[in-house]
Structures are given as C-alpha cells and as structure tokens.
C-alpha cells in the first residue's frame, strides 16, 4: 500500500471511521492510484491539490461522506511547531531566570540595597521604570550610587536578607525539566508513536 494511502488510513483511524469503510476507501484509492501510475498520470491528476496533504484529503473525504460528524482539526505542522517553540521558550526563560537568581545569590548573597546615596557620576546604576526592587550585588569596595530612572520606585530592603539560591535552583530545575519534557513530547518520533497508537 502506498505511503499516501497509509497516511489516509491513519487519519481515518484517528477520526474513528469504521474499519470496513476505511478499508473500502483505501482499496478504491489504491486501485485508482495504481491505474493512474500505469498510464503515466501523476498522483496530482487523480487527487488534485489533495495529493500534497493526505491527512486533510482523508478528513475531507470522510467528512463529506458523513462518516464523521465534522472534521476534527488536523494539527498542521506550522501551528504545532510554533506552539512547541512557545512552550520551550517559556521553560527556557524560567531556567534562565532561575540560573540568574542562583548566580546572584552566590555572588551577591542578598538583594539588600544598602547604598542609596548618589555617588560620583559614572558609578550610578540606572533603574528601569518597571523594576520595583533591584538586586544589587553587595559592595565591599567603593560605594555605588543607585539612580532611579524616570518613574521608578525605589524600594530599600531595610537590611533584611533574602536567600534566593533555593528559589533560583528550583526555577532552574523546573525550567530544565520542562524544556526537556517539551522537546521529548513534541519530537517527531514521539508524535508518530502517539498517532499510530
């Protein structure tokens, strides 16, 4: 049986088309394709534009015959890829944030903002307006001024320390595990196994 017909059969199975009817359609299609090939005609001459998309072709045929209530949307490659990319990017972002927090926790020890006086020009840290709390590494040497950007709200952590290392490590773990799970779930071979099952 040709690859095209096999793909159609998988789609009919996915849509719940009864086996006898799926067998009948597959046999007719196979015979037509073989006859066309024997005459030197291309698959496109038999199937029209459907020759390039067996799953849509199979779904349309079953739907028009009334074998399925309405064609369940066939996940096409492009939206599937973009969805996988979005999920993977989200997990990657979580992992990066976790890594940054862990590194800051190790090297900076805290988020305490202890030095708020404006120092010499050039040593100031400009705070973007959207940041409410700014992690600043603990400074041992020269003093560093923190200069709020336009509209920024300065929050001074009054000396209390917050150890971010566990949070960072946790986020890093969640991000990495999620990223791996996403890649495994959307891998072509894993999808093929699920669809054929």
């Amino acid at each position: 049986m040709s690859e095209f017909v096999e793909e159609c059969r998988r789609e009919w199975k996915r849509l719940g088309v009864p086996d006898p009817l799926a067998n009948e359609m597959a046999a007719d299609l196979e015979a037509d394709l073989e006859e066309a090939a024997a005459e030197g005609a291309s698959a496109e001459e038999v199937l029209g534009s459907g020759a390039f998309d067996p799953r849509s072709f199979a779904a349309a045929w079953a739907s028009e015959r009334g074998l399925v209530r309405s064609p369940r949307p066939t996940p096409t490659a492009a939206p599937r890829r973009s969805r996988a990319a979005a999920v993977a990017a989200a997990f990657a972002l979580i992992a990066i944030v976790g890594l940054m927090l862990a590194v800051l926790a190790v090297h900076g020890s805290s988020v305490k903002v202890a030095v708020a006086s404006v120092g010499r020009p050039g040593l100031g840290v400009v705070v973007p307006p959207r940041l409410g709390v700014v992690p600043v590494p603990r400074v041992v040497g020269p003093r560093i001024g923190v200069v709020p950007g336009p509209g920024a709200r300065m929050v001074v952590a009054g000396g209390s320390r917050l150890d971010l290392r566990p949070v960072g490590v946790l986020l890093l773990l969640v991000g990495v595990v999620g990223l791996l799970a996403t890649l495994l779930y959307w891998a072509p071979w894993a999808r093929a196994r699920r669809l054929s099952g």
């Binding site: 006859e35 066309a36 001459e45 029209g48 534009s49 739907s63």
Partner: protein, 117 residues
Amino acid sequence: MATGERRRTELLRGVLDLCLLAVMVEGPAYGYEMTRRLRSRGLSIVGEGSIYPLLGRLERDGLVETYRAASNGGPPRKYYSASDAGRRALAAGVLEWQAARDAVDAVLGPVEAEVEA
C-alpha cells in the same frame, strides 16, 4: 497560486459536482474513470480539489447510487451512477450554470470585444 489559476479553481469549484454527474450520466464509472472522462474533455483537476470528497457528498445526499464490481482485470471497484435525484439536480444545475454564464457573458463580452479591437 497565480491569479489565473486561483480564479479557475474558484470557477470550477462551483460546477465540479455537475461535471461529475454529467459524466456519470454517460454510464457508471469509478473514481479514476471519471477523472479520465473529465480529462478527455480538457478538464483537468490538477491543482483543484480532489473529486473523492465531492463523490462522498453526492453519495451522502443521495444524488448517486453505488455498487461494487470487478473492473477490467483489476480489483473490484466502486462504481457511481447518477440517481433520479441526481439527474434532476443535474438538470437544475445546468440551467443555473447557463443563466450565470449568459449573465457573465453579457458583462464580459463587450470588454473582450474592446480588448481585441
């Protein structure tokens, strides 16, 4: 898809069911045989939607009757023929097509003459 091809596709989409019924009236035919009959009249479905979903719809709507029979030396095939309802639908569709074609001709005909002049 080029503009010309797209327009041809749109035009054909509305009448392909009538064309299938018309070739069935000539005698029962299986899927590829209908494709062959259409092609012999210069109507290729290359680039168009397939006839199979359309045949499925005609069958669901009771416009065709089907039976299985052996083809010439090949495996058993599903033959389609126009039912009484299908013949009535074909007759009505041909009238609609002619009316539409005449109306479009009335609009486009003078343009064609001007372009050629």
